[in-house]
């Protein structure tokens, strides 16, 4: 089933304890697409870049089967650029540079071809742009998943609450869940957030795994402990891209299938962090993904 991903496509410059990169391809929509396209051949993108965005990156995504009809290329303008430095523990980072550039005036135009998309993934963006994207679809998709971040809770909380009401699945990290709900207990936080609108809540906990909440049901997918984490950039987007990609492939929105989708998303994210930027996602084979998912299954398996 076709999937529409809306988010940023950008340049990142990264520094981790393992090394540093020049400007490389990044952005939520890039990671989401690269992860989702592993599961479904029908990934459509709405994003905006400047004329500095290299054709080779566009060709690379197209070669992966990603449809870029909805990619706006702004002549005479520059792409969004983010630069960050990760600390030794990889759990915290400093933002060195944020240049919004074309993203500052992003108008999410939906190509006619995309109007029948049944799975909508809203990457982290200004909540108002996320609302526009939903409103511009003639028919409500079967499933809307959104990602966001604490920044929007600080500067655009009312808009954020509006869009949260419109979606089926909200995906945020543990600190964001605490900030949004005002509750420290994630279980209580989940109850409060689900009351804000989304039927399903995913709380990402990085190296500690991910939680899935729906009504009274709860699932905890631990993260696979890795020997080396080279670069955490894009892990959250890769996770949610795998989650929605798996659902679009299987077309089963039951809680049991969402649990599997969380495991596949976690497996994809565990690859993403093994190399810089998108590098690892480009070489991923089916056997690797199947093997990694089995590692996740073995990791938490026990019989009482």
């Amino acid at each position: 089933m076709s999937l529409l991903a809306i988010g940023s496509m950008a340049f990142d410059a990264l520094e981790t304890p393992y090394g540093k990169t020049d400007k490389i391809i990044g952005g939520s929509c890039t990671y989401i697409s690269l992860s989702a396209c592993y599961f479904t051949p029908n990934v459509n993108v709405v994003a905006v870049v400047g004329e500095d965005f290299p054709q080779e990156y566009i060709d690379m995504l197209t070669a992966k089967g990603v449809n870029l009809d909805g990619l706006q290329i702004k002549e005479g303008e520059k792409s969004f650029f983010w630069s960050g430095r990760y600390h030794n523990n990889m759990n915290s980072r400093d933002t060195l540079v944020t240049e919004l550039n074309v993203l500052g005036t992003f108008d999410p135009v939906i190509p006619e071809l995309y109007q029948d998309c049944q799975y909508l993934m809203l990457g982290n963006l200004t909540p108002m742009v996320q609302i526009q994207a939903i409103e511009r679809l003639r028919n409500r998709p079967k499933l809307i998943v959104m990602d966001t971040m604490n920044f929007w809770m600080d500067v655009a909380l009312e808009d954020l609450k509006r869009v949260i009401k419109m979606v089926d699945v909200l995906c945020i990290n543990d600190e964001e869940a605490r900030q949004l709900s005002g509750e420290y207990s994630l279980r209580v936080a989940a109850k409060k957030i689900v009351e804000m609108g989304p039927k399903t809540l995913i709380i990402k906990k990085g190296e500690h795994g991910a939680l899935l909440f729906q009504e009274e049901k709860m699932f905890y997918c631990p993260a696979l402990p890795l020997e080396d984490v080279f670069d955490p950039t894009g892990a959250g987007d890769t996770f949610v891209g795998g989650f929605i990609g798996y659902l679009a492939k299987t077309e089963d929105l039951s809680f049991d299938n969402m649990k599997r989708a969380i495991v596949y998303g976690s497996a994809m994210a565990s690859f993403c962090v093994e190399k810089f930027g998108t590098e690892r996602m480009l070489t991923l084979t089916e056997a690797e993904v199947t093997g990694r998912v089995q590692e996740f299954a073995d990791l938490a398996h026990f019989k009482i």
Copy 2:
């Protein structure tokens, strides 16, 4: 099979966002015994208290079937006392008072009756006292599990390394595993620590669960997200008490059974934090424990 627990019995005064207590019973050996005695009727204690230690606490443990022949009561002296205040997130705390008292000169005398114990649990103590305890047993127990803390890594690292070499299972938290190994990745840390001697390593991650490592095998037991955590004091001791208690009951030291022991230990710890001090552990029923273990099984269960 009989179990010998060596550790502290003490007074704690606790302050959490939910309230505060006067001096109540605490200490690693208290929590270990109360947890382990749920599984096996044969729990023997070696510990030391002052004459201020109330008979009602001794009677309470005895009523639970805990053998206190090895409890030394020092006349004219005072019991170990610790007072702490937890921060709002319950993950960090300030120590307000530490009075070693009788613990400062603890000489772990093993009663003759205890000499055939097959399961030895070394609660957090001076490493030298842990070594003495092991050396005073005529026959090596079938299984030796030890707990420790970062404090001993700072002030008695060489002694600590000696005792670590002598045990089968080391149980520490994630920060301690990182400090002991000098590695941030818990998977790499586990490899290095296992090379120090213990065949099996448990890394406790509090609200994020617990990891079990043995040779190339790895198991991740997520923690059950709770609505309220009233008081985390004793959770780690309750966890490890449940772990060794379950093993002593089942007499099966396979990796698969150790996984189950981790789940039972986690379930016991999840009760411990629901009320102040040892309160919740005193009222625990079999149906409650079975139900909680089932919740853990449901929490992480999925089929690929």
